[in-house]
Symmetry: D2
Subunit: 359 residues, 4 copies
């Protein structure tokens, strides 16, 4: 269970890191949207390993195939099945994990829950599962742009103690992708790259923060009470491997503010209601207010390090484990397209929900 | 839509701040749990206004009635309908809000979404809606304790710049409730109380952070991928009025850590697998690992301040609004039982889901 | 679980026959629909006992109260909680059922499932639960009429061996309600009434068939594959107490037909595609085709008979039980508004689903 | 939407008759069930065309591949993706359907709903979609047998006016599969085969009834109110292409019975509660009572006939259409494994739901 996301624009992902492949079924995409593999592949290319020397050198081309749901280049309104074959699998690299639980991975919890696990590359708990999310998100993203002009852009705002200075109103996807670290502040990007390379040489890994900014969401998306827009965004982000925190608008900084400082005054600009500040992050009472949506996600350092660590094995014997394999020293650059994909899935779902009840 | 939470242990809340009342229907609670109003009322008493001079002086007794689902003091396995009548409603206090949008409230977004809103006291967007959550959560909480011995305790960890020092292993509900601010660090509590009273006198409000700690969750709860335990907790917390952020375990601090520092080594203690640190916050790969679950929620300062603010009205004319009425200067003390209630609802749901697939 | 129906226009019912009352929460009703109790009460009056001497003489006025979700006579888009108090409860009439399982009732299965049951009047399994469905259905019905001009009419087509001749194109609600048996064929109605009265005097009960006809559904409602319109109608009807069968269009008679006879040729009338026959019953491939929707539901004879029957008790001892109390000799007349209500709930849900994906 | 079935044991099917293939994702199957393609293929072989000269001669081997969710021959508890490639596609055979709506097919309603359709072989509305259901159902079936000893057997009870006499207590799968028409009454089977062959030669088609019998379901499966076991069975069956009716236990015959005749007296046999008749069909109040579950499904004659019929085209011009291609003269023999598969999916879902709340 738990492999489906969304109420109306729904995605179900499937697949393990070693096996027939990974993929997703998208159900609920409106009909007659122009869609081919060429709309999806660029997002997968931003996610895949081997794209730069900052990330895992695994050689996975991650070619997507659309198995169903389109006809003559248009969506049919029927389920769209997306499939990416597994290619560069090396199960032998994981032989030791058949018995030993990697610290801060899901090996132990999967074993505890299911009494079985595919220990090859983490199986279902591998970040490779996010291939399906990114592919599905690319469809949601295209539909949002096509129908509402919504634009989603995310970037690496922080790596370890290196923070960036970015004007979210000006940031573009091109600026984000200009460096392999996906930080649109060139100065910060240079330091981040240097730090990640040093970290890798030390056999260690490092965490950071992704920021996401969404323009063009009209007022009215989001359901009150449980399915608030920020609640579904929070769920989407905390469902990502390695994420540990989510904040929207003022976020945790709101704790140190007074109401006087925090409230966003309403004004009218060009006949539209706007707020002169945006501590709300584009959402009030769970519903979009027409201002840009802005949130941040914290990602922990990758758990696989090239050092010896204490752990236990399947017989509950204490032992040690030394990481090996082709892992990312920092997940942040590859997290950017994943955060964008999940954002698109949340927004497309809420757009349809709004259309249903209030359309 | 969006008024139901949970997949197996499900709660649907209903009601506006002014109207027949507020309540909840709980569907999926296992049968034969001893349950009367006396199990629920204490939690509502912790949430209600008027309980101390730190919170709104509204006089609502918030007496809960169980309308269905129990028989001779035991749950039947059928829906449990919970109802709390509205009592101290003063719609006339809100007359100005019929036309003016309160800054950083949901007045504007409800109007934009639905083309109509109950402007009396915020209607559905009022925090009064959380009465239903707290009542439902009390049932989930009792069932979790009864069946698994799970204990949930939350407290005010921060108000504005005043932080507390609390040993989560030792904190008790009695210590939390020992002061009206619900901070179990007596020194910090004294400062917080003083600050809140000063803030109220200044006609302003102030934000803060609630921390929650859960003992006794066995390994294996939580679904991989989208319905991770932390994802559902994040959704639950960001679905609360005024919340702006969620972090679990190391949270945003993980961004500044390396893998070496962050990883939680596994050891065996008394035949059980434990971790010697708990940066994971009790969850790995979306599934509980048997360690305590620990997370934090940021709440913004209450939006209603007793000062004049810029805003617009329903005709899109710029105007000003001066807050009045009986409002909380700080939502944190009353947020504590709400955070606990939502935590209980998430955990009860995942306990049942685990039982279904892996039980 | 299982007390919620619908994906977008959702109803959750609650309540037992003896207890605080029965009711429903409707979530997803579009905003700004004019709605007061006066829109709902007439449907409850058609369902309630005591309305004629053909049905149970219990004295329940079944007055509905709207507890939430409306404001100044319009729906808010928020959950509508509907409540009907229990009044004429006589738990003592059921004392024997505390130990003995009534044949063909749900006493045994509830006990087997939950290990507990409210044996007073059947508790949750009582047909009294349908009060919530009828109240919720009245809202769906009004919305369908208001928005799309959809008209739903059902009638008693058969009681035991007495069948009616009715032209569905001409039948009106007035004609249906003209006799207490709700059969618009006056000749058949007279015989049905006579038979039901004889049956009652004999201490027995009798079954029959309700037919339902829906005009005004546009082409395009219904989801392919699992959530076909006829699939959801079938589920709705088989979820009713005492129903044993559902057929749409040609129904079971299709088994004896050839494709040549069964196929509905398409023609064009007034610029609209129509079919010259309607064996499809208004639905093709799970989606409405614009023709009237026509289906039938079989209801078994009421299980409570005023005769002695073999049964067993909670200690698995064989015994006998003699029915008593104030029961219907035939459920059919009261089933008519219930069938209409469930039909409205299915159609409103599919109208919203269509609007979401294809609107 | 509408391509997912089940609440805990969930299947999502995808694919069109012409395209990359058809398949299903099963989410929620418990872990550690032995499972390989060899468990699934036999059911697909019973469904596929070309298996006898009573059915469509299309040459589809329908080889299933498990793409995910198993490891070393056991289920992992993660989603199981099943894929069957399309092979013998002949889109050119459908060129005329690009413009003309086939009578009593879904061409018109898909076009009306989506404004687009894959007209090649019916696309998503093709019965080929049931490949995914049968594959998924084979997993549910194995799990039910493995865990509870549940046995499901269905057969062709009627073709046109030829009815069979079958003792459901004695019927075996071997007897069902002994003739290509899947009727275990040899005499009736012979007549059915003869009739179907004559019908085919006449360019016509013929309908019938499938009966299903389930042994071994314990008391307690099924949720009261909306998700009654018979309600979910009815939905499952009416979601099948060409089905027009569902009845359980006494079914439509109940309309002609009195309570005295219809009630099933309880007795005790070998310490278990049984009923001496089974008009209830194994379900009372929506919950299984431990007796065999028995129901019937009516299937209309196949809509594609080799004769000229009136219809309209996409420009709303009246025209005629003459069927061609390789179609079944009678869908009943191939419907048997599909009915069984859907039955298994319903029961597995309710088994898990029961386990969650009452386990």
């Amino acid at each position: 269970m738990g492999n489906t996301f969304g109420h109306l624009f729904r995605v179900t992902t499937w697949g393990e890191s070693h096996g027939g492949g990974v993929g997703a079924v998208v159900d609920g995409c409106p009909p007659r949207l122009p869609l081919t593999e060429a709309d999806i592949q660029p997002e997968l290319d931003r996610r895949r390993p081997g794209q730069s020397n900052l990330v895992s050198p695994r050689k996975e081309l991650d070619r997507v195939e659309i198995l169903s749901g389109t006809f003559e280049g248009l969506t049919l309104g029927t389920p769209i099945c997306l499939w990416v074959r597994n290619e560069d699998a090396r199960p032998e690299a994981y032989a030791e994990m058949a018995r030993k639980f990697r610290p801060s991975h899901a090996d132990f919890t999967y074993q505890a829950k299911y009494g079985i696990r595919n220990w090859q590359g983490g199986g279902r708990s591998s970040a490779r599962e996010t291939v399906g999310r990114v592919a599905a998100g690319a469809i949601a993203r295209k539909w949002l742009r096509w129908t509402y002009g919504v634009e989603i852009v995310a970037w690496v705002a922080r790596v370890h103690r290196i923070t960036s200075r970015v004007d979210p109103e000006q940031v573009t996807r091109e600026a984000v992708d200009a460096t392999p670290v996906r930080c649109p502040d060139p100065e910060a990007a240079r330091h981040m790259i240097q730090l990640i390379e040093e970290t890798r040489r030390a056999g260690d890994t490092v965490g950071g923060i992704v920021e996401c900014y969404v323009r063009g969401v009209p007022p009215g998306w989001g359901e009150p009470v449980f399915d608030r827009l920020e609640a579904d965004l929070a769920k989407a982000m905390l469902s990502l491997p390695a994420s540990k925190g989510f904040e929207i608008g003022s976020g945790f900084a709101c704790a140190e503010m007074t109401g006087r400082e925090h409230n966003d005054p309403f004004r009218v600009r060009n006949g539209r209601v706007v707020t002169t500040t945006n501590h709300s992050g584009g959402v009030q009472g769970g519903i979009s207010n027409g201002m840009p949506i802005r949130f941040r996600v914290a990602f922990k350092p990758v758990a696989t390090i090239m050092q010896e660590q204490d752990t236990v094995d399947v017989d509950l014997q204490e032992t040690t484990l030394h990481g090996r394999g082709r892992h990312d020293p920092c997940v942040l650059p590859r997290a950017v397209p994943i955060v964008e994909a999940m954002t698109a899935l949340v927004l497309a779902d809420h757009a349809l929900r709004h259309r249903a009840q209030c359309g």
